[in-house]
Amino acid sequence: MLEVRNITKRYGIKLALDNVSAKFEPGKIHGILGPNGAGKTTLIRIINQIITPDDGGVYLNNRLMTREQLSSLGYLPEERGMYPNMTVSDFLLFMGSLRGLHKNESKAALDYWMEKFAIQEWRGKRIEELSKGMAQKVQFISTVFHNPDLLILDEPFSGFDPGNVKLMRGILREMKEEGKTILLSTHNMNSVEELCDHVVLIDKSKKILEGTVQEVKGYHSEKLYAVQFSGNMIAFATALWTGFDLVDKKIIGENRYIARVRMVGDSNFRSLLETLVPKIDIEGAWEELPSMEEVFIRETTVTH
């Protein structure tokens, strides 16, 4: 397991990270979120040992992480960087050798990933000839080329069309199933909702939130529930007399609705169901939590 403990980093008088700690379990996708300038990139660079913290440390399986262990790490920085004059195959083979792969291993990995992304015809193309999305694919491949156990991806979906975003998400899920630890830094909250098992939110150098996506959303629960039913809307509204506020409704078919209801006072989901069941045919009911985007905005506009 990867763990950052009490990480503090200053650039002159500017405090970039203030006593940040977090745990990142294997077999999960962890979101590192935060507004611009919060300290996410600094934290990532510290984990990568590109820079060293002023206090605290990075631990792998309870031991201080060493440089030798970096060979089992794959890093995709936000700013894409490749050698423009190299061909795709030469660049990937070079990155493989840099990570300690033998020639045959590199060639096998090259064949595998070229086929997986269906980009075999790009082998001989120079990097500078590729479009942004194509270059992004190649750089992602260079990140996972050596089959690392720990992946750190900074804005991996930037530059991708929806089809490729879906492809990438599928690959990340596969890697998660293989037991890899994946750290994902992104502003794409849809990806966070869809992919992340666990998130850490950093703002103004401090960690302000950590937990599973459900937990984090649950912190901001507004006790709002959606009920999908068939029946009479008036009967529904009448049944809600006290203890519940009807927020809005949506017609989804003939005499079929989705209504959103907020709890008032001591009312809860159970009491809502007890109230409604005798009056209407309930097809489904669930809690309406705020989106990660809403959570992000709320958390980063509150002074901590």
């Binding site: 660079r45 990568n48 970096l70 890093y75 700013e79 960087g81 050698y83 423009p84 004059n85 750089q139």
Partner: protein, 421 residues
């Protein structure tokens, strides 16, 4: 290094460069054969001062014909009678006292032709003056006029022959080539580092290798590629010159020209320098050694500047001090060649910025056995200088490589040098 060796530009320069040099040399050598043009000179000597005698040199390049009347330049160029002549030499009747003649040429002859004619005419007039104004015979006069031969020799090694200045300047040439290569490949390091920074590949690399390792790898990789290119250049150019000598210019550097008693010419000095004076084994060995050490000494500075640049066009003004150091290095070669035993020459020979050049000059001049400590000190200081420069450069490299979005100022450099990475 592999990418560099495979690149089209490297292969073009490695092979194309020497071919271009050889082609230019071929043109130069062939063009210098223009000196062999045959010239017919009409000597207008109205009072027959010369008695129709001018002794030309053994080359047979100049042929004189005499006319005992005054010929106008206008008729010389238009009269068919004079169509076969290339130039007109007008000797006035008072030439023995006024020492003045006119030389009219129909086309612009090689500049050496008038000089040769002047020499030959002077010899003839000297004999006539001796006869006219003195009681000396021509033979006696030539004994009086014989130029003094001041032969410079080392008081500690009086038996040794050789033109030491020429040997020193041979060292300057070697040292100049060292500095040229250092500068060219230093600029390659600078551009490569700057491009890695601006393309952001540096961050990916630093997640795998330490900044010091990255910088050292770059120095070594580009350095080895430089040596390979230099080796290819040496083999091709020397091979080409040997080929020229055997096929096109068989007299080139012919040691048979160095014959005892032959009249002194600068050409003989050059042949003697090449064949007898210079120890090419020692010069060649130190040339390669100083190329490597000088490159490592300066290479770190180029890497640091490349890492410090905010953008590729930024920091150009910081290249000026580096260029200035190179110019001082080249100047030091000239200074030591002219003043080999000056005190400043001693210090220039051990200061690492200038020692690669000065050591080559001193090798041309020759180190005494008692002076070898000076050479050793220079090498040791150069090695220490390399460690220091690479240390400072690595610090700037580590601190600056990932920093972007700024215009490079002197304060940035100072800050990065003293800031712990």
């Amino acid at each position: 290094m592999k990418e560099r060796l495979k690149s089209r530009s490297f292969l073009t320069m490695a092979v194309g460069g020497p071919l271009v040099v050889l082609f230019i040399l071929y043109i130069l050598f062939t063009a210098s054969g223009g000196e062999e043009e045959h010239v017919r000179v009409l000597v207008s000597d109205p009072v027959e001062t010369l008695e129709s005698i001018i002794v030309p040199d053994s080359s047979g390049q100049i042929e004189y014909a005499f006319i005992n009347s005054y010929v106008e330049p206008a008729s010389f160029t238009s009269d068919p009678e004079y169509a076969g002549f290339d130039a007109l030499l007008v000797v006035n009747e008072k030439v023995l006292s006024n020492n003045h003649v006119f030389f009219f040429q129909k086309k612009r002859l090689n500049s050496k032709i008038p000089l040769r004619i002047q020499r030959e005419l002077e010899k003839r007039l000297e004999g006539l003056k001796a006869k006219e104004f003195t009681d000396l015979t021509l033979k006696e006069f030539l004994i009086v006029k014989h130029p003094l031969n001041l032969e410079v020799r080392d008081a500690y090694r009086p038996e040794e022959l050789g033109n030491y200045k020429l040997a020193a300047y041979a060292g300057v040439v070697f040292g100049g080539i060292v500095f040229l290569f250092i500068f060219l490949f230093g600029m390659t390091i600078l551009r490569s580092t700057s491009r890695e920074k601006s393309s952001r590949i540096a961050e990916v690399l630093l997640a795998t290798v330490k900044p010091g390792e990255l910088m050292t790898g770059k120095l070594l990789g580009i350095g080895i590629a430089a040596l390979i290119q230099f080796a290819v250049w040496t083999v091709l150019i020397f091979g080409g010159l040997l080929f020229f000598r055997s096929v096109f210019f068989p007299d080139m550097f012919d040691a048979a020209n160095l014959v005892a008693g032959q009249e002194y010419t600068p050409y003989n000095d050059l042949v003697q320098l090449v064949y007898e004076q210079l120890n090419f084994g020692v010069m060649g060995t130190f040339f390669v050694l100083l190329l490597i050490l000088g490159y490592l000494f300066y290479g770190g500075l180029f890497a640091a500047l490349g890492a410090a640049q905010g953008s590729e066009s930024d920091g150009q003004q910081f290249l000026i001090p580096l260029i200035f150091l190179f110019l001082i290095g080249i100047w030091s070669g000239w200074y030591v060649a002219e003043n080999p035993d000056a005190e400043l020459s001693f210090w220039l020979g051990i200061i690492p910025f200038t020692s690669p050049m000065v050591i080559m000059v001193n090798l041309g001049l020759g180190y005494e056995s008692g002076e070898l400590w000076h050479l050793l000190m220079a090498i040791v200081l150069l090695l220490l200088g390399i460690l220091f420069n690479i240390g400072v450069a690595a610090r700037v490299f580590k601190n600056a490589l990932l920093v972007t979005g700024y215009r490079l100022r002197f304060g940035n450099l100072i800050n990065w040098i003293f800031k712990k990475p």
